[in-house]
């Protein structure tokens, strides 16, 4: 049964004020279009969980959607800092809960596995444990060192962008996998956005590539270029220029408001946004072709 809906309907149905959301993707496949739609719909008091809040959550904090962030690295990767997040924490206007990357994805792994917690070996760095009481310790019943544990994270909604999916939500993902899969299995609801909606036969031609199965997906949205300024491996490049410009775009109230007005409130949807970016950007983000070698699954039809 097809779950295809428009992105705005999907956000309307599954993202509510006060929810904990996980917009997945480590550098890759970050669902910017979905977050722009959440901002357009004026959601409030959200708890924003992501290993790297990245520009996507800095923008949401600036737009006033967030009550709290849960994260493990709050920089603009390879560039600098995230001003709105940093100031929110410094001024005490934003709640936060902090982990290491491994702690954060272990929380998702526990959530995705139906477990109350995941164990990790000790790191000797106890300051984070001291300031975040969600880190706890468990005795090794086999006599070794205590292990550190973090509790399951089960977001209300995970938003996961993928290269291709069928209309029911079976999705192929390749390139950097980050915590896409764990976030989807951990969440109560999953909004899937896809560069391409393909026939089920394409998915079935390579079942080992299906990282997200339809059974956990609530809504499937066809959103080409959803990830810009992040990227989709094999579809378009990361817009590094935009990441470098973020310092300027986000530097004060006036700049960020101008950006929101023009690029979020000023467009109806991602198609309009992409058109607005213009031909030069399109060409700059173009990627060439480099195909995987096929594999044979074998046919077992009756001879």
């Amino acid at each position: 049964m097809s779950k295809l809906v428009n992105l705005n309907e999907a956000i309307q149905s599954y993202v509510h004020d006060g929810d904990t959301i996980y917009a997945a993707g480590f550098t890759h496949l970050i669902p910017f279009a979905a977050v722009h739609e959440i901002i357009r719909q004026g959601r409030k008091d959200l708890t924003l969980a992501r290993a790297t809040p990245d520009l996507i959550y800095d923008l949401m904090v600036a737009a006033g959607c967030a009550r709290k962030v849960i994260f493990s690295y709050s920089g603009n990767p390879g560039v600098g800092s995230l001003k709105w997040l940093r100031e929110g924490i410094q001024n005490g206007t934003l709640e936060w809960e902090e982990y290491s990357h491994f702690g954060m994805i272990s929380r998702l792994q526990a959530g995705a596995s139906g477990l109350p917690f995941m164990p990790m070996r000790q790191t000797g760095a106890v300051d984070l444990e001291r300031v975040n009481p969600q880190y706890r310790r468990v005795k090794d019943p086999y006599g070794g060192d205590d292990v550190i544990v973090v509790p399951a994270l089960n977001p209300d909604v995970a938003i996961v962008h993928v290269q291709r999916a069928d209309s029911e939500g079976n999705a192929h993902i390749w390139g950097i996998l980050g915590e896409q899969r764990e976030a989807a299995f951990a969440a109560k609801h999953v909004i899937l956005t896809a560069e391409e909606i393909v026939d089920e036969s394409v998915i079935r031609s390579d079942p080992n590539r299906t990282l997200i199965p339809a059974m956990i997906v609530d809504a499937v949205c066809h959103v080409p270029y959803c990830a810009h300024p992040s990227y989709t491996q094999g579809y378009y490049d990361r817009d590094n220029e935009f990441y470098l410009k973020w310092e300027e775009i986000s530097k004060d109230e006036a700049n960020i408001k101008a950006y929101l007005d023009e690029w979020v409130f000023g467009v109806r949807d991602r198609a309009e946004y992409w058109q607005k970016l213009g031909a030069e950007t399109h060409s700059r983000l173009h990627v060439g072709q480099r195909l995987s070698a096929p594999v044979n699954y074998g046919s077992f039809a009756n001879e």
Partner: protein, 254 residues
């Protein structure tokens, strides 16, 4: 330092590259560590392998990546796996030889603060936080720190232990049960610091033209010196050529 011949960044990259061994499995960030690994691969360590916390093993990037999640790291890599797997099966399992670390503060025992200046709950300056470094510092077999040498970056004690070096020195690191050997060297634009047997960072080598006094003036504790402080060989023309012409021709980092 001969400013005409090479700059501080080039000096740090080249000295970091020399610390890497052929066959090392290196957990690497973008920027300076990435350039150091690529330089080592093109000189004495052709079988060094770069591993990114985003889950990429054996990258062969066609261009210089801006972030550790750049798509050019993926195309043509040997393997790509989830972040959970890279931290579990590779790092925690003990399959990583070398980790690179950095941070706003590095202290006398190689502990690093990348989290906060001031009080955690009422921060003076909020920094990005651990990312992968809490576990890399603990579980990689060896760690290296590359950083400009400035007094504010080298306090006697860090405000927050984002990742540990030798904690309070002595056997305090070993007693935590972490598997890695800890930071083996800090490469700066002035010198190389290495831990002594007590885990205290001491002056091991000066770059050409640099002096102990200059280093001490930029270090927040009474710096000890190794019995024989070496002088690092100056960057060779070949090292500089590879760096400038092959690895960063657009001079993004150098």
């Amino acid at each position: 330092m001969n400013e005409a011949a090479y700059n501080a960044t080039e000096l740090m990259i080249i000295n970091a590259a020399r610390l890497l061994q052929d066959g090392d499995q290196v957990f690497v960030g973008v920027g300076i560590p990435n350039l150091a690994c690529n330089l080592a691969r093109r000189t004495h360590a052709p079988h060094l392998q770069m591993i990114y916390e985003a889950g990429v093993i054996g990258a062969q990037p066609e261009r210089l990546p801006l972030s550790i999640g750049d798509p050019t790291l993926v195309s043509g890599a040997l393997a790509v796996c989830s972040m959970f797997d890279i931290f579990s099966f590779y790092l925690q399992r003990g399959n990583i030889d070398v980790g690179f670390l950095g941070g706003a503060q590095i202290d006398q025992f190689g502990n690093i603060n990348a989290t906060v200046i001031g009080d955690y709950f009422h921060p003076k300056v909020r920094l990005p936080g651990s990312g992968g470094s809490m576990e890399i510092a603990a579980w990689a077999n060896r760690c290296y720190i590359i950083t400009p040498h400035q007094k504010r970056r080298f306090p006697a004690r860090v405000d927050f232990h984002t990742s540990i070096g030798f904690l309070k020195g002595g056997d305090s690191r070993a007693k935590t049960g972490v598997r890695g050997a800890g930071p083996q060297a800090v490469v700066t634009n002035l010198c190389i610091l290495k831990p002594n047997e007590q885990g205290e960072l001491i002056l091991a080598a000066l770059h050409p033209g640099c002096t102990f006094e200059e280093v001490q003036a930029n270090t927040g504790w009474q710096l000890k010196q190794a019995p024989h402080v070496e002088v690092t060989p100056a960057p060779t023309p070949e090292e500089l050529r590879i760096l400038r012409e092959e690895l960063d021709p657009q001079r993004i980092y150098i």
